[in-house]
Symmetry: C2
Subunit: 358 residues, 2 copies
């Protein structure tokens, strides 16, 4: 493998000194880029794009050709695992993801097996191998998965949800059944992420998109517990280097202390939590990633720079921060605004690092 | 006016001793009740239901005929104020609320005036007067309004939103324009709530449904600040009795300390915050209202009772709690489950009060 030319992102996740604060964007390969929309149209449907390694590789690299980002993230979907379990994932135009065979009954759960990452998910690993080759050491490649709880919400609801009535009914009335489902998912996510590391990813992120819809008690029992299991199963090193992991519970700002004890190296933070407060609360246990409101990218360039300055000032000096949005970039953002954002982070963060050369 | 026979709700909001913990449900007059659906169908559309005092009165009283609730809440909508400002509110079937004339430009804001509560909003005050007469002192009547920020989101977006891109763009690029809009709304909400008190409501609630989509800084500047202005303008007494106010920022669990200093008597709490933690954080500054996950009402009766017991235990002994859901009741809940819920709160809370007869 080519030597890594820019390792700021990996160093910041381990709170090692960096020259400037690294930055990447959630959904940086996405619909706001005209070149993405062109490939997406060529592919026909979203799952063809995900499951064709050459196309997944092409869109993964697109944002790096435009912006000096400090990491690439595998282009894929969090629902590849339930799809590989036979649930029949499909995307209806203008709607979110749907499953032909949702999981509702004990016999639905009993039928599920941990998918072989080099079997039905081989297309993901092939994409990782191809992207690593094409990246040629420019920046690290991030692999990812959905959290067991988040995957379970889609599998039980059968689609996106606002109320989560099906999975919560299962949680309240058949908690053992839900625990069985989550246990299978935790093993599946663990094996999937290990295989991604074996195929070449250099950092890992777990997206707990829907952990924030739970009570604190239910969050600990049904989401955090299984993320811990996943983290415990991850390889610590690959290619002679630590493989850092990032946990991100959207709307999980009230539970940062719990998350900081989960064994991961870093936490994703959304914009409802002040980054300076978050840093004080987690101390030196974990690095942080975030947390600009994606809507700031609708604003004028100077306003974007001002917001970056405010967030950097709130975090303060020293390493341990990976700049990002607090959620995925919106599809109607102009790419020129992203250029302003990325450049602002690199420019404005330099004094926070040169002043503390540890 | 008839003397109030059950004042538990008002006493708990002022942290005065009560025999059992009072309970009401957000959206207790709503689609989960077959008798509501019948009136709704008779009315034709939702706004006719809101704007016909006899019908609004009828549905306000319906849940009290089924369940021993400790408060009634005026049946209305938070968007009556922008409608009275001339924005043209309508509800398309199966969609959320929409405005024919959203507020986007400086001239749109310049055109807005504080609506006379006894002018275009007289139907609301007439409903209050009629409901008070029909209630005949059984339980107190709650009046309400949306927070200035929450009203502004609908007025600027023109509809419900998931990303709030229009109002946030205004917030970032034209903050003075948004401040002008929010100032007019704060005056309008203040006058509207004062008029509701004059017409007979005995407690007030401000719904800040969308404050939780902001950063902590923006929340303080664009939502909390204007709720403070509203609270400062409210009458403290009516009919010789204190009129308590409740602020509820959905997903505002991280900002309870700020909310507790806003001048209101109580805070609404959603289920993502533990009620015992919330009580420790706000001390004796405010009472609390909440916070069961509405989805618990999908569960079996014993599970509902268990959850009520857990929440009561978390809050602990003494007054200062109004039991409620953490959000409005869902439309597919069976009314029998609500009966279990209400009875459980009254039954299971008694030991927490008799043991501390202050």
């Amino acid at each position: 493998m080519a030597e890594l030319k820019n390792d700021r992102f990996l160093r910041a996740l381990l709170r090692e000194p960096v020259d400037v604060t690294p930055i990447w964007l959630m959904r940086q390969a996405g619909r706001y880029l005209p070149e993405y929309r062109a490939v997406r149209q060529k592919a026909g449907d979203f799952m063809t794009l995900c499951s064709t390694p050459e196309l997944a590789c092409e869109v993964t690299l697109q944002p790096l050709q435009r912006f000096p980002l400090d990491a690439a993230i595998l282009f894929s979907d969090i629902l590849t695992i339930p799809d590989a379990m036979g649930l029949g994932l499909y995307f209806a135009e203008g709607e979110g993801p749907r499953f032909r065979n949702p999981v509702r009954q004990p016999e639905d759960v009993a039928k599920l097996a941990v998918p072989d990452p080099e079997g039905p998910l081989r297309y993901v690993m092939d994409a990782v191998r191809l992207i690593r080759r094409e990246l040629d050491g420019r920046v690290p490649l991030i692999g990812f998965a959905g959290s067991p709880w988040t995957l379970a919400t889609y599998m039980v609801e059968g689609s996106s949800s606002r109320e989560f009535s099906c999975i919560k009914r299962m949680m309240f009335d058949q908690p053992e059944l839900l625990h069985r489902l989550l246990a299978i998912l935790a093993r599946s996510v663990g094996e999937y992420l290990r295989a991604q590391v074996a195929a070449g990813v250099q950092a890992l992120m777990i997206f707990d998109t829907w952990g924030g819809v739970l009570t604190p008690r239910d969050y600990r029992e049904f989401s955090l517990r299984y993320m811990r299991e996943v983290v415990a199963a991850l390889p610590r090193e690959s290619e002679g280097r630590r493989v850092p992991s990032i946990l991100f519970t959207k709307n999980g700002g009230q539970w940062l202390e719990d998350l900081a004890d989960s064994g991961s190296d870093a936490l994703g933070i959304d914009w409802t939590t002040d980054l300076g407060d978050a840093r004080r609360r987690v101390g030196d246990r974990v690095a942080l990633q975030g947390n600009m409101d994606p809507c700031v990218l609708y604003a004028q360039p100077q306003r974007i720079r001002d917001e970056v300055a405010t967030i950097l000032e709130s975090y303060g000096p020293g390493s341990g921060l990976v700049f990002n949005l607090g959620h995925g970039i919106h599809q109607h953002i102009e790419p020129e605004k992203v250029a302003v954002f990325v450049d602002s982070v690199h420019e404005l963060s330099r004094p926070y690092h040169t002043e503390t050369p540890r």
